[in-house]
Amino acid sequence: MAVRNVAMREAIRRALREEMLRDESVFVMGEEVAHWQGTHRVTRGFLEEFGERRVRDTPISEMAIGGVAVGAAMAGLRPVAEFMTINFAFLALDAIVNHAAKVRYFFDGMFKVPLVYRAASGWGNQATASHSHAPEPIFAHFPGLYVGCPSNARDAYGMLKTAIRDDNPVLFSESIALYPKPGPLPDENDQDDLLVPIGKGDIKREGADVTLVAYSRGVDWALQAARALARDGVEAEVVDLRWLRPLDMGLVYDSFKKTNRCVIVEESLPMYSFGSEIAALLQENMFDYMDAPIKRVAAEDVPLPYSKEIELLALPNAQKVVDAVKEIV
């Protein structure tokens, strides 16, 4: 089977399209998903192929996007609701947190909510403070919701398919910076063997000296850092957790037992973060294996500015990962 490089956006588009072909209860709704062909072009061509019944432009009504998806899912459809960017999911936070994540629980299993919220995430490009968040950990805070954050085309393809087929609500966060990034994907449609189980992490690079734990865009920074460190004789293992909930801590623990050192890399803010969580779990469960303090690389603790140089100053990058590793190896 031919394998070709495709952009992550194209892999997501393909996964979504195939799931719509496979199951007619899957439909897409969101701002500009139909006529405009998707703000990020993920739903390009969908309106033409599937029609207005299944590809639904919504008004700028995030609260309703969040909640309508819950009702439709409870009633038996499989909505894939898009937030144009994850920043706007804040307007729907109540529907997501209090209803998508909880109706099954508070009615003791009477209903299921098989929906996916897709959202374009991340910062950079001077989008300014209110449009510059990578807030996945906020969503991962709440039990009842799964959170997926792919770092490459192939994972995005397999993770989104799994998310759509699963009977639980999933928040699927797509890094805007990674949309154009090419990655290998088999040509053939409907590659079930590419499905990524919910909560399964992946080792993206092996190494015995330090464990770099990351997800989404952080994986790129970790891999770049690992290549730079290798030139100095330090071999980093890169763990891509892929899902923030559930967390594949077994993978992290196995790696840590080997390396005894860890740097956690994330695009989001440092306080009450992914890094805090992983570090806490490591010290609770791996204390005997710990040879150095756990380090965290995250964004600066500040709202993001417009001006480009100070914006870059605030963002994590590979060099910051290298520097953190050098403090502990």
Binding site: E31, E62, Q126, V302
Partner: protein, 343 residues
């Protein structure tokens, strides 16, 4: 309402050509990558909407809007240099480079800013008006909101609250036909958008041809007078965006129907031409004054570009972190405290 004097009309013309020159220059600068980023929403085509309505305000009144805010800033008299420097993220920008195109503001002009989350500024508007009511001031809050934003929960909650508390807000719905790529009729069950406000018991001043600054001024004057004495008012401005939604909008390149529509608006409903024709019709001797304003606009904007490009970018960590919080003696900090912002 006093009918606008010749001087007023000339001043509106001055504002409108300044906005147009500023916006078209921004567009060019963006294409040349001298303005960077992903968001730049221009007010070209909307000039009469802002100019005509804000002419009805007093200096003590308040103004707030969304991200399509350059024109509003210039009408209020914000320094074009500082506005252009903000576009380029410079230290000398009106928000020190932190806000950019979507976040212009000027406390000195009672301009409470441009906001980037659709509808997010609407409850703020109601809150600003609440202060006036609370303290018995007679200031009104002129609030600009897009057609698309009227479908957002923020709009409905804010309008309703302004109605029950008799808040002196003039809700100006700038209906330019689209929210990004979505026509009004595909997004709103009620396409006469001012009637949504009416449903909450807000006094409606109806729909206005907002390419005609005089028509805008006339209705705005009535609405402002009403709001000052009574409570919220709504006006629907029918207008058009000449440069699409923003710099990311490629519709006008790829769709003939849209470029034809745009051309028709420009040919038939061009706000600067409409005002110019009116002034020339009513006052024969103003040709030279109009030309002087055209020339002045070019000079002001050219000077603003020069100023902005000569200014420095913020680069330091202190500049990055500054103003996350008010510096407060009440914050307890030890050497190990984190999350307090910079000192």
């Amino acid at each position: 309402m006093p009918s606008p004097t010749k001087d007023m009309l000339l001043d509106w013309y001055r504002q409108m050509v300044l906005i147009r020159e500023f916006e078209e220059t921004c567009h060019q600068l963006y294409l040349q990558k001298r303005i960077t980023g992903v968001y730049l929403h221009l007010y070209s085509g909307h000039e009469a909407s802002g100019v005509g309505s804000m002419a009805a305000l007093r200096k003590s009144d308040h103004v707030i809007t969304a991200y399509r805010d350059h024109g509003i800033a210039l009408i209020l008299g914000m320094d074009a240099n500082a506005v252009m420097a903000e576009m380029m993220g410079k230290k000398t920008g009106s928000s020190g480079g932190k806000g950019g195109s979507m976040h212009l503001a000027s406390a000195a002009h009672n301009f409470w800013g441009g906001y980037a989350i659709v509808g997010g500024h609407l409850p703020l508007a109601a809150g600003i008006a609440l202060e006036a009511r609370y303290r018995g001031k007679d200031a009104v809050t002129m609030t600009y909101v897009g057609d698309g934003a009227t479908n957002n929960g923020y709009f409905h909650e804010s309008l309703n609250m302004s109605a029950i508390w008799d808040l002196p807000v003039i809700w100006i719905i700038e209906n330019n036909g689209y929210g990004m790529g979505t026509e009004v009729a595909r997004a709103s069950g009620q396409t006469e958008l001012h009637r949504k406000a009416e449903a909450y018991g807000i006094k409606s001043f109806g729909r206005v041809d907002a390419q005609d600054a005089l028509a805008v001024y006339k209705v705005a004057s009535q609405a402002v007078a009403y709001a000052r004495d009574n409570g919220p008012a709504v006006i629907e401005h029918v207008t058009y965006r000449y440069r699409g939604h923003g710099v990311s909008d490629k519709q006008y390149d790829s769709r003939d129907d849209m470029s034809a529509e745009l051309r028709q608006w420009m040919d038939e409903r061009e706000p600067i031409k409409i005002l110019r024709d009116h002034i020339l019709g009513a006052h024969g001797d103003v040709g030279a004054a109009l030309t002087a304003h055209d020339e002045a606009a070019r000079q002001i904007v050219a000077q603003a570009v020069e100023f902005a490009e000569a200014s420095d970018l913020p680069r330091s960590r202190d500049e990055l972190l500054g103003n996350t919080y008010v510096r407060s003696p009440r914050v307890y900090k030890t050497a190990a405290s984190i999350g307090a912002g910079i000192d």
